[in-house]
Structures are given as structure tokens and as C-alpha cells.
Amino acid sequence: MWKIHFILLFSRQGKLRLQKWYTTLPDKEKKKIIREIVQIILSRNQKTSSFVDWKDLKLVYKRYASLYFCCAIEDQDNELLTLEVVHRYVELLDRYFGNVCELDIIFNFEKAYFILDEFIIGGEVQETSKRSAVKAIEDSDMLQETVEEYMNKPAF
């Protein structure tokens, strides 16, 4: 019973790589929030905890290689579970891209979104099984391939 307000992925240099909002806000507000949060998190020591109080929300973040994954959750929500969510998302990305790195997400950012959408919908986790989430993405990838792309793919 918890709700993610938004998810941000950004690099160590503070470059945004992915943003997903589960609450509607005007663009201006979003930009302000992003700037603020990126700054807060980047200024934190690596050995500190993964949780930061921010306004009336809590930020839960984790760094994977050069990329920060950050979720904003509500006060009553379970932080450890959110960390697991973040981790699960990374696992999904890894499974889909195979040894995922930041560049995969930069160049295939729409895929990163599709995977996220299969995993979380409206701020709630919808699929806890890694296998089915990746399968759904691959199936829908295949779907477009059967019609159009199929010809350009090597036989499998």
C-alpha cells in the first residue's frame, strides 16, 4: 500500500535520463523539482543512507554505476520496499538489454519507459515477476516485428 509520486533517473553529472510522474504537475514545477532533487542527492555522501526527507515526501534513491535511480514516496510508505522496486527495475533493464549501461538507457530511452510501464502503473507495482514483465515487453516488441520489422531481423 504505497504510491510512488515520481521516478527520476539521472547521471552523476546531474543529467536527467528518465522521468516518470505519477502525479500531475505543471511543467515548470516539474523542472524545479528535478533541479532541486538532483542537487540534493548529488551533494550527498556515498556512504549515507538512501533516504532523504524532502518536503512532505521521502526520496529513496540508489546509485547503480554512473546512474542514480530516485523515487519519491509518501510518508507512510515502506522505504525498503521502494529500494527493492528500484532494484527490480534495474534488474528488468538488465535482463532486457543484457548488461545494461547508461548508454543503453540514453539511446533506447523509449524502451526504458516501456519497461517501467510494464512494471509500474500509476505509481503502483503491477508486475512482481521479472519473467512476465520482460516477456510482455518482448512480446510487444515481437508484435511490431511480426508485422513490419520481422523482415529485418535475423532468423531466430
Binding site: 500500500m1 550527498r44 522505504e79 539511446f107 523509449e110 500509476g122 503491477q126 516488441d141 508485422v147
Partner: protein
């Protein structure tokens, strides 16, 4: 992915795809903005093209730019176009873009309603999925209302993939359209026991979320959840259920007992830390376990341990207090988050015994703290801790004042006003401390230059406000009044903020008055005149102030003092009269007292007392607000000391007077207002001074001294060595820096140095005890506070659009909907015009006019289709295109134009194997055509019902007349019947729910039921309609034959090769095969055709051999093996029904023979 197919066409060869864009941006680090604006220009060009692939590519790039912070809201309409692409590849990009940039304010969003509805009911589960995902991001109240029923239906979809998404989206729908909760809840509840764990977890999720907001409505579900909790092994689900019980237990205490056992089991058995944390969080069983968390080296666990502990603190403060050492240790942690958590805990842990020690520790942190935010946090915490429960834990107020004074040395804090408020509060309410406070404040005033020296410290100069007021108000306690007065008259003061200067001016008069009295009593006339002279010399600097308040006060006072000077020259004693100006005692009033004054009977506050004033008169009241609230209390009259009885009598009289005075509430600024931010304002407490503590400490106070003194005092109390007190203190004062924080006494042993009697707040009589004003009426979840146990009433149905679901009767709801839609008409039209102009700004004015006029007549319903036809069909180009299509149609007879086939322009002749794009394909076939109207149709299996198919018919008005009253009827066969509204006979037609202005096309859907699907069916039918033009109206008819091919009963279903192999091995399938000669097209094309027209998907392909799979709506498996020879193709099929297979193969043969 979508981009590769773009490559074939020459004119699009130079388009950037997403990867190019990303690469480009990375290569233009220096002039990124310029590069991107160039890209946006390119994208704008691409969006103008008709080709949907180009558009999708452009939208994909825009989505990326949006992430970089560029505004792409201008492309909202293009995004909708891409969303409505028939190909999933594009559709998915469109929905992604929409979910990233649409929000409730996006006005084109309502144009998507029908597109989304169509996607929701798509036979392809991924179309449905992508639409649901998109909805979760941008659902609006309108969309929620219009689509609630569709989504609810999807909750019972055959595929768990769709079910679970639909269930989760339902929560969003409830939020936006609370009326849907009751009708949808029974089905949601069903989903708690769904066979698929994903769906089950989604349902748990939604219900938990609902229940958290309004737990009482969900108590009846407790047994069900209890069962789930004991049976489920999914940690994700368990965590949610435990949270839910956390919300339910306060309402049903018996639940608590029942929960203990399963929770204990979980705590002992689980290895998942997150689950453990949740359990511990819910039932506070073991603080000891938390200690383990806090002591852990993992910072995250430490944080959570502290957090959980603060929750326990609320209910069991004793059990947490024993861990004080640990928590104080956490204050030293290098992680700010952890320190803040520890601070929260400290707040609840203080006692009389440990307050000084804790605050001392905090003060050390204040000194060390680097970031101002953390330091400010510390400051507020110190004040919170000390002032909580009406200074319950403070045993020595001198110590507290010293702490406050020390805090003023903080640089750059924002909380100067907090410190000031505390100083005022303590000085006013603790009488015994006034003397000390005044001496400290005088010192502050004297050192004001330190505090107000630079602008950065502006926040802290608020304390001067308090200092000046305290020194003035309680000037009788001041020893060196002259010196303080001089400090207040320094030129530097004029750099302070206006409101502080004003307080300075006012209070220097109080000071002056008391000095005057002092001097006169001592007979020092000279000195008295000197001080008057000083005032007259220095005051003009305030008279010149730019601040109105300061100026006005200063000039008043200057005049007053000049008058006093005159009197002094005449040797008239003035002090008594001057001091009388400031006589009177201040009483704290409860913060809510004003609000609680009951309205006297017979008083109507809304009624006019006089005739309503004219506009010009109302301005007269404004100047009052210029004066600060503070002014009020200075002008009070000081009364001589009065006994309690007298006081009570007067209070009574005042209340009476206030009650009877109708102006009281309106016009008197509430005197208690300024106390509102100080916690717990009480009536003046009575304080007894413990004389064992020396009242005066030389120099700037060091709060440390008090810690030491306090220890000693307690120590002495214990030993009862009263006589030697003072000596011992002197001995020990030299060793201030030695610490000894070991306390052995119990709390009860400590007698406070100052007794604070707590008297209840001063409240008006008959005040209402309730505090209802604390609730927030704007809580979005309040709307969902709906009783779910009450049975559903007939009227509680989700709105259903009539023409979509033919079986639904015309309900008042849907009618209301239609009306509503109509009323929205002007707005949409406006929007469309705008869009259109943007798109084809270069088009001739004339054409535009025609279109506009047509639109005026048009009924708004199928928004998107209308839009599309408008944007393309009115061009000459379009006509040409149609002709092209028609010629193609003749050639390939079965490939008919799709209503939204922008991609039909890619006609290709070249044929390198890899890059060969596909010929245009559309599943829409011609149904019938006459000079007025053209009908194309497509049949899709209905996923929700294994004996239903949906026929989508596009009606296109080819004439220049207005077509209306269209009615479609078919002659039912035994096997296949059109679904008609209940009560109508088989001869009744179904009205088409729209009218068609000239040149416009629109789509309607009709549902057919069938028993057997193994054979193709043909149904004869008629469309009747009225043609209306200038010459009048005529009734027309168009006959058609609706062909249900076997392929239309198939649903594209992906299949893995292992599952496919198993299926073939099972041996339950019948076999059949065909061979077609004279095939000239490539194998790729051939497969694509089979996929597209016969709804198959490729399982595996090796060279010129491929296996394919599909499923019928009634669950027949169909497997194909397609082999290509030189000029021929052979298709071997296996199917659970032999008739179906042979019919399918026959259809396929026909398709292939045309290749």
C-alpha cells in the same frame, strides 16, 4: 525500431532518427540549445508530412527533448495522431509521448476519448495495455467518466495481463470519478480471489490504497484479507496487507489480537528485511529488534530503525527512552537524514531529568553544523523540545533564557522570530525570570551591532524586537537603564527593519518614563533633564525614517517629550503622569479564544447595521491595517496590582461588554493573534524562585553553567545539605568543563527550580469544545469515503456510450452524456480550427471556409475520426490518393483503404530484399458504395465474449448533401445475429449514432453474436438514410453483404516456439494443406500478408520456411507451416477443428493466389 522502415523511401532518407538526435546532442555540447532548436524545426517539418512513420519518429524525438526540458505541448495534436496509428509500433510511441506530456490541462485530451476506447477494446492485448498505461498517466475526470465502464469490463478480460492493468487503473478512475467506486467495487472485490497472482496483488493494492484513506468502509473485508495474509507467500502482497491491517486495527481492536500470531510468525520466518520492517512497523512487538536495526552498519537500516522507533515513541515512550544513548549517538552520524530522524526522536524523549543534557548536546551540534538547513532544523528542534507541553520539562528558566541568547549568535538563520517569540513568551509568563531576562536583553541590545551587523543575519535581528520590548515593558527591573536607553538610541538602529525600529521607539519611551521616575524620586532634576535632552537630540533620526510606522510614532513621542521638557523647565514633577501612560498588566489569551466567542442570541452578523456603504466609503476602513498588531498592546493601560477576585470580576465584566458589543468581533484586531505561533499560551503562571540558584551570572551567559548548577542543585537536594549550598557552588564553578552526565535519581526526585502552575487557557464562556476546523475540506480522498456495503441501486451504473455497446439500452446517463458532449462543441471546434491552421497554414482561404462551415453543422461525437477526415480528406491530394487506392483495390481486390491510412503513400517499386517496405495493407474492406455513401468494414473478435464479434463500419459521405437518420439492418441467419437492444424485433434496424455532413466520415460499431465460427458467413443487409440538401430531403437505401470470413474469428496471439512444439506434438490437431503456384512476391511479404489479413503471428522462421500460430475467439489453436519453393508456396495447417482449418486454408489460398 520504427525507424528502420523509414529508410526505404528516398525523400525521408535524411531524417534523423532518435539515435541520431541523441548522438547529435552529445556531439554539440557547446551549442546544444542551437542544435536542438534546429532539430525542433526539422521535427516540425516532419510532423507536417502525411506519413505516419515519419510523424511517429518525430514524436519519439520530441519525447526525448521533453525529457531534456523542452516544451512540446504544441505538438499535442500530432501526438494524438500517432496514438491513433493502427500499427502498434507507432501507437506505443504516441502513448508514451502522451503520458509524458499530457496533463489535465491539455485541452486536446478529450479528443482522445474514442481512440482510447477503441484501443481498449482492441483484440490485441498490447494495444489495450498501452492504452491503459497511458490512461494511468493522463486520466482526467471526463475521461474517467467516459471510460469507467470500458475499464471495468476489462477487469474481467481473459488475459491476466490486461486484468491486472485494468484493476490498477481503476484506482485512478475512482480518484477522478468517485461515482464509479460503488458500481465497480463488487468486481474489484472478486479480483482479490483471481487465479492469477498478479491480478490478485493488483486488487490488494488498490483496495489497500482505498482503505488506507477511509478504513471504516473496508472493515467487512478483514476476514478475506486475513485469509490472504495467512495463505499468501508473495512478500509484495503481504506487505500491503499488513499495511492495510495497520489502518484497520484502530477501528476494530479485536483484529489486533488476531493478528499477533501470524505477524509473529512472519517476523520470525521471513528473510526479507522490508517485510520484517513492515511487520515491526505495524505491531510494535519488540523495540529491542529495532535496536539491532539502528546498531547495524547499514545506513538504510539505521534510518528505518530510528523511524520505526519514533512511531513507537508515540504510544510507548518509556520503552524508547531506555535507548537514549543510542539515539544521542546517532546525532553524531555523518548522515543528515539520520541525524534529523534522531532529532525527531529526541523531541519525545526529553524529561525534566535529561533536558539540559540533551539540549547541551544539541547546542554543540549547532556550533558544528555546516549546512544552514540542518542548523535551522536543530534550532527549531531545540525550541520545540524546550517549549513542548507548556515548558513542562524546564526546571530552570534562567538556563533557557541563556540558551535562547546563545542561539542568537547563530549566523544566517531564518528562525530569529522563533527565538524572539520564545523570549517574549517566557518573559511575560514567568514572572520570576523577568529580572534576569531583562538583564540579558539589555546585554543583547548593547551588543546589537553584533547581531545586526550584516545583512546575512537579518533573520536573527528579530530577537532585537523581543529584547527591546522586554527591556521597555519590564524596565523597572533594569539596573543600568540609562545605558540601555543610549544603546537603543544609537544611529545604527535606523538600519534595522521598520517593525523593529517601531518597537524600539515605543519602548524607549517606556524606558525613559521609568528613568524619569527614578531620577525624580532621587531628586536628581539635572539628570532628569539631561535624559530628556538626550531623547530630543536623538529622536529626530527616527522621525526621518522612511517607514511610516516608525516616523509616526517618533514624531508623536518627540512632541510629547518636548512638552515634558517644558514642564521640567518649570520644575513640575511629570514622572508619575508619564509612567501612567504605560500602566497595565498583560494577560495571555488562548489562541482560539476569539473564534470561540459564541454569537449572542438575536445577533445576526450578516445583517447590515447601517445601510451598506458606497464603494468610496469602504476605503475609509483601510488605513487601520497600516498599524501593526503590536501597537495594541502598548496602548493598554496599566492597572495597579489587583487581587485575583477583582481580576475575575473585571474579566467577567469585559466579557459581558464584548458580548454585548456587536463591533467587538469585527473591528478589534484580536489581541491574541501574535501568540498564535507560540505553543501553549496559558494564563500567567505563578513561579517560585529557588533561591539556591544565583540569579545573576556575570558576562554573557553560558548555558553550560546551568547544566552544572542544575546537577549540583539536584545533588544537594538529595543530600539535603542546605546550609553549605553557596560555598560548594563557588568551589565547583571553576570546573565548568568537566562533565558528569550520570543521573541516578528517578524523575520524581527532581524538584524544579521554578514551579510553573498550569492554568487553563482563557476562553470565552459557552465556547464550543469541538475542533472541527482542523479538517481539510480539500482532501482528494474524502470523495472516496463511500459506503461500499450498501447494495447497489439501479441508478448506480457507469455511463455507457450507446453506440459502442449495442446491447445496452439507452439509459438516461448516456443521454446526459451526449447532451454534455454537444455543449462542449464550440470549444472543440475552436481547437480543431487552431490545429488545422497550424497544420496547413498554407492552404487557401476558400477551402478553409468550406471546411469551417461544414464543421458548424457537424455533430461532435467521433472526435478523432472526424478530425482526421477533416485534416486530410479535403485536400485534392487526398482525392488523388483515394483514386490510387482504388486502382490498387482493383488489382488486389482485398486490400482496401484504411480510414486512417496515411501511410498509403509509400508506394514502392524497388526491391532489394532487406529494405523492401511493405505494400500498404488495411484490414478495412469495402462493404458497399453508392454516389452518396461509402461503407468499409472490419471485423474483430471480441475478447470478452467467445461468441461475439464486433463489426466496425466506416461511413463516408461522398456527396455534397447532409446525411442523417442512418439506420443499419441485417437479415439474421440461424448462426449469426446482430445484437439489438432488448425488446426490439429482428426487423428493426440499429440507428447509426451520428449524422454525416458532406465529405465527412465516421465510424460505428455493431456487435454480432454467433454460435459456430468454423464456417465463413454472409449476411445481407441494408443501410437506409435520409439525404438532405438545398432541394429537400430524399430517402435512400444501400444494400450490402457482410462477409464474416473465418480469419476474422482469429486473434493474433504470439506463441513461443517451445509451446508451439508441444502443441504440435500433442496430436489433438487435425491436419490439412494447400499449395499455391505462381507466387512472385518475396517470402517476407507473403508472411506479412498472412499475419495481417489472417491474424497469424510468426513463431519461428528459418530461411524460406516459417511456422505460424493463431487462436480463434473460441479457443481453437491454428498452427501453420509455410514453405516457399521457386514459384510456389505450400501451407500445412494443423487445427483443433478440421472444418475451420479447411475454410481458413481456402481463404488463404485466395489471398495467396492474388500475390
Amino acid at each position: 525500431m520504427a525507424l528502420k522502415m523509414v529508410k526505404g523511401s528516398i525523400d525521408r532518407m535524411f531524417d534523423k532518427n532518435l539515435q541520431d538526435l541523441v548522438r547529435g546532442i552529445r556531439n554539440h555540447k557547446e551549442d546544444e540549445a542551437k542544435y536542438i532548436s534546429q532539430c525542433i524545426d526539422e521535427i516540425k517539418q516532419e510532423l507536417k508530412q502525411d506519413n505516419i512513420a515519419v510523424k511517429a519518429n518525430a514524436v519519439c524525438k520530441l519525447t526525448y527533448l521533453q525529457m531534456l526540458g523542452y516544451d512540446i505541448s504544441w505538438a499535442a495534436f500530432n501526438i494524438i495522431e500517432v496514438m491513433s496509428a493502427s500499427k502498434f509500433t507507432f501507437k506505443r510511441i504516441g502513448y508514451l509521448a502522451a503520458s509524458q506530456c499530457f496533463h489535465e490541462g491539455t485541452d486536446v485530451i478529450m479528443l482522445t476519448t474514442n481512440q482510447i476506447r477503441k484501443d481498449l477494446s482492441s483484440p490485441n492485448q498490447y494495444d489495450t495495455g498501452v492504452a491503459l498505461t497511458g490512461l494511468s498517466c493522463f486520466v482526467t475526470p471526463d475521461l474517467a467518466r467516459d471510460l469507467a465502464n470500458d475499464i471495468m469490463t476489462l477487469m474481467s478480460h481473459t488475459k491476466p495481463y490486461i486484468r491486472k492493468k485494468a484493476v490498477l487503473i481503476m484506482y485512478k478512475v475512482f480518484l477522478k470519478y468517485p461515482e464509479s467506486l460503488r458500481p465497480a467495487f463488487p468486481r474489484l472485490k472478486e479480483k482479490l480471489e483471481d487465479p492469477d497472482p498478479g491480478v490478485q496483488s493488483a486488487a490488494v493494492n488498490v483496495i489497500c490504497e482505498l482503505a488506507r484513506r477511509n478504513p471504516k468502509n473496508y472493515l467487512s473485508l478483514a476476514p478475506l484479507f486475513f485469509k490472504l495474509m495467512t495463505s499468501s507467500t508473495n512478500n509484495w502482497v503481504l506487505i500491503k496487507i499488513i499495511k492495510l491491517f495497520g489502518a484497520l486495527t484502530p477501528l476494530e481492536p479485536r483484529l489486533g489480537k488476531k493478528l499477533i500470531e501470524p505477524l509473529t510468525n512472519l517476523i520470525h520466518s521471513t528473510s526479507a528485511m522490508s517485510l520484517l520492517y513492515e511487520c515491526v512497523n505495524t505491531v510494535i512487538l519488540c523495540v529491542q529488534k529495532l535496536r539491532i536495526l539502528i546498531e547495524d552498519s547499514d545506513q538504510n537500516l539505521k534510518y528505518l530503525g530510528l523511524l520505526a522507533m519514533s512511531k513507537i515513541l508515540k504510544t510507548h515512550p518509556k520503552s524508547v527512552q531506555s535507548h537514549k544513548d543510542l539515539i544521542l549517538q546517532c546525532l553524531d552520524d555523518k548522515d543528515e537524514s539520520i541525524r534529523l530522524r534522531a532529532l525527531d526522536l529526541l523531541y519525545g524523549m526529553v524529561s525534566k531529568k535529561n533536558l539540559m543534557e540533551i539540549v547541551k548536546k544539541l547546542m554543540i551540534h549547532v556550533d558544528k553544523a555546516e549546512g544552514t538547513t540542518y542548523r535551522d532544523e536543530l534550532l527549531t528542534k531545540i525550541i520545540d523540545i524546550c517549549s513542548q507541553s507548556n515548558y513542562q520539562y524546564i526546571t530552570n528558566f534562567e538556563w533557557y533564557i541563556s540558551i535562547l541568547v546563545e542561539l542568537t549568535r547563530l549566523e544566517g538563520t531564518r528562525h530569529g522570530h522563533l527565538i524572539a517569540a520564545q523570549m517574549l513568551d517566557v518573559a511575560i509568563r514567568v514572572k520570576a525570570i523577568r529580572k534576569f531576562a531583562v538583564s540579558q536583553m539589555a546585554m543583547l541590545l548593547d551588543n546589537a551591532h553584533l547581531i545586526a551587523s550584516n545583512t546575512q543575519r537579518n533573520g536573527i535581528c528579530e530577537v532585537l524586537y523581543a529584547a527591546a520590548w522586554i527591556c521597555g515593558e519590564f524596565s523597572e527591573h533594569l539596573e543600568e537603564a540609562n545605558q540601555t536607553l543610549e544603546a537603543m538610541l544609537r544611529p545604527k538602529v535606523t538600519t534595522l527593519p521598520g517593525h523593529i525600529q517601531a518597537v524600539y521607539v515605543q519602548n524607549m519611551v517606556k524606558l525613559y518614563a521609568s528613568i524619569l521616575q527614578q531620577k525624580e524620586q532621587a531628586g536628581e532634576k539635572e539628570a532628569a533633564q539631561e535624559i530628556t535632552q538626550l531623547m530630543i537630540e536623538k529622536l529626530p533620526q527616527f522621525v526621518q525614517s522612511a517607514d511610516l510606522e516608525v516616523q509616526e510614532r517618533a514624531s508623536c513621542i518627540l512632541q510629547l517629550i518636548k512638552y515634558i521638557q517644558k514642564l521640567q523647565v518649570k520644575e513640575v514633577p511629570v514622572a508619575e503622569e508619564v509612567i501612567a501612560l504605560f500602566a497595565g498588566e498583560l494577560n495571555p489569551v488562548a489562541p482560539k479564544a476569539q473564534k470561540k466567542v459564541p454569537v449572542p442570541e438575536g445577533l445576526d452578523l450578516d445583517a447590515w447595521i447601517n445601510e451598506p456603504p458606497s464603494d468610496s466609503e469602504s476605503e475609509d476602513e483601510k488605513p487601520k491595517t497600516i498599524f501593526h498588531d503590536e501597537e495594541q498592546r502598548h496602548s493598554r493601560h496599566r492597572q495597579p496590582e489587583i487581587d485575583e477576585e477583582e481580576l475575575a470580576r473585571r474579566r467577567e465584566a469585559r466579557k459581558q461588554e464584548q458580548a454585548n458589543n456587536p463591533f467587538y468581533i469585527k473591528s478589534s484586531p484580536s489581541p491574541q493573534k501574535r501568540y498564535q505561533d507560540t505553543p501553549g499560551v496559558e494564563h500567567i503562571p505563578v513561579v517560585q524562585i529557588d533561591l539556591s540558584v544565583p540569579l545573576k551570572v556575570p558576562g554573557m551567559p553560558m548555558s553550560d553553567q546551568y547544566v552544572k548548577l542544575e546537577e549540583e542543585r539536584r545533588h544537594k537536594q538529595k543530600l539535603e545539605k542546605d546550609k553549605k549550598k553557596k560555598k560548594q557552588k563557588k568551589e565547583k564553578r571553576g570546573k565548568h568543563h568537566r562533565h558528569n552526565s550520570l543521573h541516578t535519581e528517578s524523575e520524581e526526585d527532581i524538584a524544579p527550580a521554578h514551579h510553573v502552575d498550569i492554568i487553563t487557557e482563557e476562553m470565552p464562556e459557552n465556547a464550543l469544545p469541538s475542533d472541527e476546523d482542523d479538517k481539510d475540506p480539500n482532501d482528494p480522498y474524502k470523495a472516496l469515503d463511500i459506503d461500499l456495503d450498501k447494495p447497489l441501486a439501479d441508478s448506480e451504473k457507469l455511463p455507457v456510450q450507446r453506440h459502442r455497446n449495442v446491447e445496452t439500452l439507452k439509459s438516461p446517463d448516456s443521454e446526459a452524456l451526449l447532451v454534455e458532449k454537444k455543449s462542449k462543441k464550440p470549444k472543440k471546434k475552436e481547437k480543431k480550427h487552431k490545429e488545422k491552421e497550424r497544420e496547413k497554414g498554407k492552404k487557401k482561404e476558400k477551402e478553409k471556409k468550406v471546411v469551417e462551415e461544414e464543421e458548424e453543422k457537424k455533430v461532435i461525437c467521433q472526435d478523432l475520426h472526424c478530425l482526421k477526415s477533416k485534416s486530410s480528406k479535403h485536400k485534392k491530394k487526398k482525392h488523388k490518393k483515394e483514386k490510387e487506392e482504388k486502382s490498387k483495390d482493383k488489382k488486389k481486390s482485398k486490400k482496401k483503404s484504411h480510414h486512417s491510412e496515411e501511410e498509403t503513400t509509400e508506394s514502392v517499386q524497388n526491391g532489394t530484399l532487406d529494405d523492401e517496405p511493405l505494400p500498404p495493407m488495411s484490414s478495412y474492406r469495402l462493404l458497399a458504395e453508392n454516389p452518396y455513401i461509402k461503407m468499409t468494414y472490419d471485423i474483430q473478435g471480441n475478447l470478452q465474449n467467445d461468441s461475439q464479434v464486433t463489426v466496425s463500419v466506416i461511413f463516408e459521405n461522398k456527396s455534397t448533401s447532409f446525411l442523417k437518420s442512418m439506420e443499419l439492418n441485417v437479415l439474421d441467419s440461424l448462426n449469426t445475429k446482430m445484437l439489438r437492444p432488448e425488446g426490439s424485433s429482428v426487423h428493426d434496424g440499429i440507428p447509426v449514432p451520428f449524422q454525416l455532413p458532406p465529405g465527412i466520415s465516421n465510424e460505428a460499431q455493431f456487435v454480432f453474436t454467433l454460435q459456430s465460427i468454423v464456417m465463413a458467413q454472409k449476411l445481407k443487409g441494408t443501410l437506409s438514410f435520409i439525404v438532405k440538401n438545398d432541394e429537400g430531403s430524399t430517402h435512400e437505401k444501400l444494400d450490402f453483404k457482410l462477409h464474416f470470413s473465418c480469419a476474422s474469428y482469429l486473434i493474433t496471439t504470439p506463441c513461443y516456439s517451445d509451446a508451439f512444439a508441444k502443441l504440435l506434438e500433442s496430436g489433438d490437431l487435425h491436419m490439412n494443406s494447400i499449395k499455391v503456384d505462381g507466387i512472385s512476391i518475396s517470402f517476407q511479404h507473403l508472411l506479412a500478408k498472412i499475419c495481417f489479413h489472417h491474424h497469424f503471428s510468426v513463431v519461428e522462421r528459418v530461411d524460406s520456411c516459417a511456422s505460424m500460430y493463431s487462436r480463434s475467439i473460441q479457443g481453437h489453436h491454428v498452427c501453420l507451416l509455410v514453405k516457399k519453393g521457386e514459384n510456389s508456396v505450400s501451407v500445412d495447417g494443423k487445427c483443433s477443428d478440421s472444418t475451420l482449418l479447411s475454410n481458413l486454408l481456402d481463404e488463404m489460398k485466395e489471398t495467396l493466389s492474388k500475390c
